[in-house]
Subunit: 358 residues, 4 copies
Amino acid sequence: MASAAKKSNKVKVAVCGASGYTGLELLRLLAGHPGVEVAYASSEKSAGMTAAQLFPSLRSRYDTLKLEPLDPAKAVKAADVVFTALPHAEAAPTVAEVLKRGKKVIDLSADFRLRDAAVYEKTYGHHPAPELLKEAVYGIPERYRAEVRKARLVANPGCYPQGPILSLSPLIEAGLVSVSGIVIDSKSGVSGAGRSATVDNLFAEVSGSFKAYKVLAHRHTPEIEQELSVAAGLKPGKGVRVTFTPHLVPMNRGILSTIYVQGEKGAGAKDVIAAWKKAYAKEPFIRIYPEGQVPATRDVNGTNFVDLSAVSAPDGRIVIVTAIDNLCKGASGSAVQNFNLMCGFEETTALGALALVP
Amino acid sequence: MASAAKKSNKVKVAVCGASGYTGLELLRLLAGHPGVEVAYASSEKSAGMTAAQLFPSLRSRYDTLKLEPLDPAKAVKAADVVFTALPHAEAAPTVAEVLKRGKKVIDLSADFRLRDAAVYEKTYGHHPAPELLKEAVYGIPERYRAEVRKARLVANPGCYPQGPILSLSPLIEAGLVSVSGIVIDSKSGVSGAGRSATVDNLFAEVSGSFKAYKVLAHRHTPEIEQELSVAAGLKPGKGVRVTFTPHLVPMNRGILSTIYVQGEKGAGAKDVIAAWKKAYAKEPFIRIYPEGQVPATRDVNGTNFVDLSAVSAPDGRIVIVTAIDNLCKGASGSAVQNFNLMCGFEETTALGALALVP
Amino acid sequence: MASAAKKSNKVKVAVCGASGYTGLELLRLLAGHPGVEVAYASSEKSAGMTAAQLFPSLRSRYDTLKLEPLDPAKAVKAADVVFTALPHAEAAPTVAEVLKRGKKVIDLSADFRLRDAAVYEKTYGHHPAPELLKEAVYGIPERYRAEVRKARLVANPGCYPQGPILSLSPLIEAGLVSVSGIVIDSKSGVSGAGRSATVDNLFAEVSGSFKAYKVLAHRHTPEIEQELSVAAGLKPGKGVRVTFTPHLVPMNRGILSTIYVQGEKGAGAKDVIAAWKKAYAKEPFIRIYPEGQVPATRDVNGTNFVDLSAVSAPDGRIVIVTAIDNLCKGASGSAVQNFNLMCGFEETTALGALALVP
Amino acid sequence: MASAAKKSNKVKVAVCGASGYTGLELLRLLAGHPGVEVAYASSEKSAGMTAAQLFPSLRSRYDTLKLEPLDPAKAVKAADVVFTALPHAEAAPTVAEVLKRGKKVIDLSADFRLRDAAVYEKTYGHHPAPELLKEAVYGIPERYRAEVRKARLVANPGCYPQGPILSLSPLIEAGLVSVSGIVIDSKSGVSGAGRSATVDNLFAEVSGSFKAYKVLAHRHTPEIEQELSVAAGLKPGKGVRVTFTPHLVPMNRGILSTIYVQGEKGAGAKDVIAAWKKAYAKEPFIRIYPEGQVPATRDVNGTNFVDLSAVSAPDGRIVIVTAIDNLCKGASGSAVQNFNLMCGFEETTALGALALVP
């Protein structure tokens, strides 16, 4: 089908790192985008295969898209916009090349999410291109839409941070909840761990079990703290601290975060919901639940939705439950949303599907 | 969103039985159909709720679609085309009402799939409207496209039969395989059992286990035999007999059928694949695997694809492996495909998505 | 095999409510108990079948154990000790009958867990036998071993409460953690919801999804608060308050609780672990993890173990992660442990198995 | 606990390859064996850890069992009986060393299952010790009990072959079914693929999907054919041919095989069941289902049971459904059963547990 389309008017894109799960999700979403042609796709391990040979789910759409070892110059030459779905530190050189050639890049790695290189280095090690940090826009359109529209480099956010940031920021800005003592208990499907062969993520290790991991030591913590500090008007990295515990759920997709905050000045779930309704009145991807109802991950899987809910405790504590799809809104869906904004497409293009239930 | 669309040019449809899994799948697919407005939806148990209240996955699209107890007259009045996603025997009265009022109906129940009322009665019990059987078109477009285009009543096929019928029919027609001794070993996800509360389908009964069920006694057997008999030029019900064993897989969606046939006159997998390529050259939903590769259910889930593969045994036996999504191509996807043909839409409308992997 | 054993020296037991998951788990465990003969088993829905007909996993061991509609008098007559694995409110009449006849009973329902009838009534409704509350012993041997040994009526604890009670009580007693602001974020396998037919617990509703439920409204909350209040030396029901959120994990068994507490006087994970080691030095079923390691539910499934771990946050908060099997230590394993104590068996009898991994 | 036991009277065993799933299963089962002390355990990748550190499920039982790189001489010195749970070709050198030192070995690899070295070499490549083949006893006690009792080298059978061999052999011997045209459609849990890190067996690749693999090309085929040929009185390797298709089920454990055979001289399911009852009258691990009932894998998981069932088709075909646990009866359970016979223990020692359901 793709081959039959008139390609000349389409935006040509490159997917660097097409054999991981975020790469695959990009290909899945872009197959439904009427204004895009995938002109380049890289993979080290599966070079030589077509995308459809590697992923039979892509048969009939990517039968001729050849995977090749990453060559940043070639990617930039082939494409108008580059998606880098590469491991952290490996993305930066390609990002730099794209910018040097005057094109646009959406980086799905962690390389440009943290504004402070020192925080990056404490978390991920040596930063390969700190000089580009000031240009990077943190790619949550619901928080930075105007900046994303004009960006050349969008740092696509991490999967865990989005639910907490989107749920808490308007509440912090409105002074409805305390910025101290925030507990974020998150549960993720296994695709968040990527497509690398490791014993820990084998089916027989994960199925029928549930565990916490990297307790108080997950790399997404500074990203959450940075953005909540922005919301609080505090200097990033020196402001809000959260207690963050990720867990592994025996399911493919989805993140559900249960967040415990203290209401300020008597604020409860009603006020929280009202604040969300005000902040997100026009957002196409934010769905706010009535008090007493809480989301399940299946209802957002495969979609770009962020589902938000809140419940009041008698002692003034508020429990917030939020769900996203870690691969879609948590990664490639956001990336397409950012792409749409950067290229002048309708923001929801290729992101209109409802979740596959059951 | 739906409410903002210009509705006047759209085909109005009714979904009778909207709270089961095939009803939900219809709503999911139709949400992406630019030429459709869902004007009526029925449910006995969830009457009074909106579709989006019952199924949070539908939030933002079906927020105002009220579920009401089934009233065939009201459904027909509200809609141009009616989908009946009701239990067998319960569908027929609504089907009759639709036809009486001169409108079109796509029946997802078993009521009009078997051409011979006697076979129906042996399988399902008393037939509520045998006089309509002769008008019904068996709704596999890849076999009966011309008839579907003109049909007023399409009997949407069962989930299990489609893989066997679509894989075997062209081979039988070409005389490549024997019509005797066919073994069909099928494995289905649990959504095939429907959304009724039963102990057998509880998560804790199914998860971590695999079983056969209704061995040699499944109701879809006569449907398979009917269509293979047609392919063989034999009188339906008196022709081809198959040995059919369904199994339950601890997964939500998908049917994989492993089919054992004897090649005729030295025919092997190569000939089988060539016959498929010839028969299905222009089919948008049939994907044929190269020899040596076999499909997995995940690659068709959420899609209308039928994936076909074949392997040769040294003794002349051929093993065919075929996969579909039981709820989509196996039910509601076919129904939308039939709808498109009956209403003059492009056949693939609303059915273009690739599978959600992982 | 059982029939061949010399039965005369064995303790005869009755399992009232043998067709639910806790009943099945009792039968599974008791099959390995050399000193027990199951002399009576009841089930309303499956009366007339043998236990092995209902549950093929029991074949070869319970082939002649007939299920019959509950008759408390008959149960007491047949058995020396009665297990009541019945819904709350339905257990009390049988419990009363057992006590009247001078025999012993281990009640797995909620009926005698809460010491204060008023708290019970607020949580579960009318209490059917409040006069028996004062005699009931709360059946966590690690907290009440001496009392259990002498008890005639043991109120077997709920599944969720055990991890929090066993992890927090020694810390509260030692003054290591604050009793205010405790957050308990628990995640349970689906068997905890029982074996009743409900749409919510169908495989296709649960698989591939994760959700919170009964947020701040779960019936086990008062049970946790009661026992933590005892640990704190506060009047039950008027003392410690916790924020408790249960979640549903797509797996059969296991509960993992992530507990957030504030350390007192600089206490951290090291102190917590030391306190556990002291409190539980001789406990056969408590396993304490070294700092930095946290349990997964699979490692306790099918066992009576309680796995405990703790991690320190920089701000003085301590994260406790604890895992049990909801059906075994969380229900029937505890019941057998209590039984062993009440009848003079070695406490670990029939409870020695390691987890089935993977 | 183990350390407290009187060790002097126990049989000392070595587990070579303790960090794979069959090694883990051996440790799990042997922990419940009153006559065994595990004196040696090897692992290349996890050398230096204790077994309980590697597998937290073993905590409290194997806390001091150090894993060390395989040293056959050391294993033989430490142990009276050696279990080799190593990859094929890697097991043979240790097996040879054990025999040289006059001790006993149970080999869970494929190295000594095929009596004909030529068949081995076609299937697995160069055979490292063909001279030992004639001494090896194929370790299915239900078929070769007398030989196992006297064996020094037992070749523990593959996981897939056991169900087909145990179900079909008595039928072939009794002339009840045809030896031609046998179709074996098997479905296995993922633990059968081992504990090596591969993308194909990642949770996110397997969960929610079902597939066939190695269609007509699986290495267990010659093993099945060898033993069915023995039953038929035909020269192994030149006799019975079967059509065997393995499939992967998204579950941890269990194999269900659906077997299609042609009854001879009017034989049907009744005759099949009668033949099994006669052949297996005294077998502790064979459970035969009444006609019309078929097993599910969950009912054998964690056990050494082989569940057998049969259903008659009108055309003389018989469908046999059989279930085992691939890691227990399919590997380590059989190994312990063989060990018991070789060392004079009661055959069921340490194998008495019922399945963990749900």
